[in-house]
């Protein structure tokens, strides 16, 4: 593919590593520091996940935390919430040096974490969830329902939420579930509340309601750490923003005067030493592909997942969709593969209207789907050859078969996809993650698909394996396969695709066509 890369020209390339350090909070703000991290380093094996990071949090502050995938955000939060212990550096809480040996210790100090995957228990009531782990009991040691419901209602009111305490949490919309979770954290005495990607699955009004609550909590002196991919959301509520990049802190800046563009610059860094520097500048996409349309989607909608998605993939074309986790890309793929029923819109494959109701049906139509979740596609306790031949077993072997011919087919596929070791008799579970991914790809290539959907095909792979897989994808493109590539890594879509769509909160927000120039910050700006 002829993706031209330009030199180090372009906008604001001057913002190098010499980002000015944020002025000390104490100098500008009377609010006392509640929590302070100094020079915190965390290594996992040989990899450094956090490198000498400083971070502080004042009482009554909302502190936004930004960074790309793998920048170190979640490691930092896991250290704060006691899941991990730092290898170097110190933690100060209310002026005292502390060390959280476990999540329970962090919780006892008043640090509460709300995970992206909510931990509220859907089958229990709102009150039961608010009092999770410490339900009030009467003299007989039985749960005091009356008191629990009354107190839960009071707690919810306190945080400005009007919810029926007896409602089943599983029946509530996601936004309300999140509020219940926050009520739980607060009522268990949290002073610091960490919110990990709380808005990714919320509708705009729900997110607005969450922001209101966050501001109220700030007024009551609580401190919040707000982790998000959505820059507008971070700018909307945060007092200060800290940006991490490649395990290091780039800067902590006050909100005033910050813009989305500036944040993106800081997040992706514009210095020449950056390994990914080649992608930072606008790259021109290749000219349009002339092949006939294989996949045509119009107005496809699945409530709660995605809405109004239009998309065309031609024969011999790689179309990328970029978006953050929860943007709805995976759901679009699932709909194409018969695992999710859209409620509106049309899907055409090779000009024919289709509505696959199962993966089996999708497979028969010539659709292959490499999911982001290897566990859902691999048989770790079975041999590689059984993994490879399963999808098209009916075409590969006669009705009564011995494994000999089958193993030969598998061996060919395994060599083609570069699985190492290339021994089809090995158990698939004994391969490394990247090689497991190749096995799944090998499975779908036992018969040439018309449409190949790749969801995060190279995530977690080393550079060599990544290249091999992407080369194979190019080969398929040359053979006329229509390829839809979903990724949360902007580099991947920019480098590999003929056209790129950006999805955000279930909608396509931008399409970059043939020949158009595209860059990482452009993509992230629309996500």
């Amino acid at each position: 593919m002829a993706s031209t890369q330009h030199g180090l020209s372009g906008t604001s390339a001057s913002a190098g590593p010499a980002v000015p350090r944020a002025p000390s909070l104490l100098a500008t703000d009377p609010r006392p520091l509640l929590l302070e991290l100094r020079g915190v380093t965390k290594r996992f094996g040989g990899a450094t996940a956090l490198n000498a990071v400083d971070f502080d949090l004042a009482s009554g502050e909302i502190h936004g935390l930004l960074g790309e995938n793998g920048a170190g955000k979640s490691t930092l939060m896991k250290i704060l919430s006691g899941v991990h212990q730092p290898d170097e550096g110190e933690l100060t809480f209310r002026g005292e040096a502390v060390r959280f040996g476990s999540p329970a210790e962090a919780k006892a100090h008043g640090i509460g974490m709300i995970f992206q995957e909510l931990s509220a228990i859907g089958s229990l009531s709102v009150a039961e969830n608010v009092f999770r782990g410490r339900q009030p009991v009467n003299r007989l040691g039985l749960v005091d329902w009356k008191r629990m419901n009354a107190e839960a209602t009071a707690t919810l009111r306190e945080v400005g939420v009007d919810l029926d305490a007896t409602a089943r949490v599983g029946d509530l919309p996601l936004g309300a579930q999140q509020l219940v979770e926050i009520a739980w954290v607060i009522s268990s005495g949290a002073e610091v509340i960490i919110l990990d990607e709380p808005t990714s699955a919320l509708s705009p009004p729900e997110a607005e309601r969450l922001f209101t609550l966050m501001r109220q909590l700030r007024l009551r002196g609580k401190s919040l750490i707000f982790i998000s991919h959505f820059l507008e959301d971070v700018l909307a509520v945060s007092d200060r923003v800290t940006i991490l990049k490649n395990s290091r802190k780039v800067a902590t800046l006050p909100n005033e005067g910050l813009t989305k563009g500036r944040l993106i610059e800081l997040m992706i860094g514009k210095d020449a030493t950056d390994l990914a520097a080649g992608y930072e500048q606008a790259t021109a996409l290749p000219p349009p592909v002339a092949g006939s349309a294989v996949l045509e989607i119009a107005g496809l909608t699945a409530p709660g997942a995605f809405a109004d998605v239009d998309l065309t993939v031609r024969a011999g074309e790689i179309v990328g969709i970029f978006g953050f986790l929860g943007a709805g890309m995976t759901e679009v793929a699932r709909a194409l593969f018969g695992q999710l029923r859209p409620t509106a819109g049309t899907t055409r494959l090779g000009g024919m209207g289709i509505a696959p109701r199962s993966p089996r049906e999708a497979k028969r139509l010539g659709i292959a789907y490499l999911t982001e979740n290897r566990r859902a596609t691999l048989f770790p306790r079975h041999e590689i050859y059984k993994n490879v031949t399963l999808a098209h077993l009916d075409r590969l072997v006669p009705p009564v078969f011995r494994s000999g011919a089958e193993v030969a087919v598998a061996e060919r596929q395994v060599r083609r996809t570069g699985v190492r070791p290339a021994n089809p008799q090995l158990l698939a579970g004994h391969l490394s993650g990247g090689n497991q991914q190749k096995v799944v790809l090998a499975k779908w290539l036992t018969r040439q698909p018309r449409l190949l959907i790749l969801n995060e095909p190279t995530r977690g792979m080393d550079v060599g394996a990544k290249r091999e897989v992407l080369d194979l994808v190019k080969e398929l493109k040359a053979e006329g396969v229509a390829i839809l590539l979903l990724s949360t890594e902007p580099e991947t879509v920019i480098a590999e695709c003929d056209r790129v769509l950006v999805m955000s909160k279930g909608r396509v927000t931008r399409e970059f066509g043939g020949g158009e120039r595209v860059s990482k910050d452009l993509l992230m700006g629309h996500a």
């Binding site: 199962s358 999911t371 859902a376 306790r381 059984k386 021994n423 090995l426 004994h430």
Partner: protein, 352 residues
Amino acid sequence: MAKELPQGAGSGVGALGVDRRSGSAWERGLRWASRHARILAPLLTLGVLVAFFGVASDRFLDVANFQNIFSQVGRVAIAATGITFVLLCAEIDLSIASVASLAGVISAFFYVGTWLDLGSWGILVGLVAGALIGLINGFFVSRLGIPSFMMTLAMLTISVGLATWVTQGRAIYEAPPLLRTLGGSGSRLFGVPVVAIVAGVVLLLGGFVLGYTKFGRYVYMTGGNREAAEMSGVNTGQVVMVCLMISGLTAGIAGMLDVGRNSNASATAGTDLLLAAIAAVVLGGTSLFGGEGGIRNTVLGVLIFGVLSNGLNLLPNVSVYVKDALEGIILVGALLLNVVALRVERVRTRAE
């Protein structure tokens, strides 16, 4: 981990990508053993039991006693074949014993002909009934999502009820001659109990389907990772349905052979079949969680089961009253050996 392994290209490279020639004979033996732990553990159990009873009882190793064992386990082996399919796809069938007695009762009912005289064709009705009940189990489990544990438990009650209704609570003291030939305890061919030959045929068929057909592969993959099988386009619902149907069918065959053996049919006959068949399959090393094991394992499990109950009866100093408890304890020991063996297998193959 696997990245460090050498490429499995050369002819001297074993199935695990490790050079077969490396290491001492002992190490190679150990490696081989740990890879085949699932079959070696029950084999060892069987060997130990045979050796023990051979020494402890002077009658155990007689030809007549082996004829005995084989005629006793035939019925269990047939039902266990169906259970093997069901366990391999990670489901369970608790209805087999009552489906067996229902099929037996039906075959005798139509043979006697008080309502409708079909003669020996009643056997066919019994077969169809067994398969149909299995199919109903399968439909409710795979299409309507009732857990197989609950569905087949309910079917247990339904089948007993139907059998009681058909017999009006009494036993039918007649059996089709074909069943007496196939299932009778004295019925032999060249000295081999006919029921054991029937069991052998059923086991072979089961082994053939599981080992050499696409459906058999689908069974293993459905049990190994249902979601992944579904994502590969396997109709896992249909696989589960057919497995439960096979289980109903084999239970029906087992039940009718039992009628042949006893020369009578009643709704309450053969209730021990359920535990015996499931225990035999698990003893043989087939996983309760699906995907691993097979007919070879079931053959071993059935033999362990047969040798154990037979051998305990032959021990002169063991009271009949402690026999059941003793049998249970030995079964636990055998299961423990399986668990240990599989742990060794996992740890060792991972280390390689």
